[in-house]
């Protein structure tokens, strides 16, 4: 090292949850977290597993199965399109709160009108969490300060 020094400091985070990677239908291991998705007009939450996707800029993508439950609370708040590569994917938008471990986040949940998508946690939520992806042991750890 020239001109600067990298100093190792003690990490002040402590692990509050450890979750095994989930297995996808095509046999891959993906980081996933249990989430509860609350919609005010429904008055209840939908609990499911969500894939951790740092490539998704928004907060929450909602699978068709979750969307069907959220729809019990009335029609979606809005419609929009998400850009994916060369495609515009039409989506329904639900205003929801999503709970990861013990923290709630107010986000918009985007549900593609086409089936086949999984629920995703995107950067809109992930940037407020301390996640440690331990790929070698197929675990994702959630940490908090203190």
């Amino acid at each position: 090292m020239r001109g600067w020094c990298l100093r190792m400091v003690a990490c002040d985070l402590s692990v509050v949850g450890v979750f095994e990677f989930a297995k996808t239908e095509d046999g891959r291991d993906v980081p996933a977290l249990p989430v509860s998705i609350f919609r005010r007009s429904l008055g209840r939450s939908v609990r499911t597993l969500a894939i951790v996707d740092t490539g998704f800029d928004l907060g929450l993508l909602v699978s068709r199965e979750v969307r069907d439950r959220l729809l019990l609370g009335g029609p979606p708040e809005a419609h929009t399109s998400l850009r994916s590569g060369a495609l515009d994917v039409p989506c329904e938008v639900f205003r929801v709160s999503v709970k990861v471990i013990d923290r709630w986040f107010d986000v918009e949940g985007f549900s593609p009108i086409f089936p086949g998508y999984e629920t995703l946690l995107g950067m809109g939520v992930l940037q407020d969490l301390n996640l440690c992806l331990r790929g070698t042991s197929r675990r994702v750890c959630l940490a908090q300060r203190g």
Partner: protein, 89 residues
């Protein structure tokens, strides 16, 4: 160009690369028509072509930083259930 045909072709290609005859069938157009659409999309830089010994395979052109929709990445046996849980505010 019929926009609905373009959308069908791009939607199909977003799932996996395909040869022209597959795309033509899925888009409901003839082989020659489909080829014209694909040539147009190739000129626009939207799709790219790979020539094999047997056929021409087209795929959606990806650039760094693109977010790929996670097609087929469904969690096996993922349960979805309604629970009485709400934010405390």
């Amino acid at each position: 160009m019929d926009v609905s045909v373009v959308k069908k072709i791009l939607w199909s290609l977003s799932l996996s690369p395909k040869p022209i005859n597959h795309l033509a069938r899925e888009a409901g157009v003839g082989w020659k028509t489909c080829e014209k659409y694909l040539e147009g999309l190739k000129l626009c830089g939207v799709v790219e072509e790979t020539v094999t010994t047997r056929e021409r395979v087209f795929s959606v052109r990806r650039s760094r930083g693109d977010w790929r929709f996670p097609h087929m990445s469904r969690i096996a046996g993922n349960k979805v259930e309604l629970v009485d849980e709400k934010p405390s505010r």
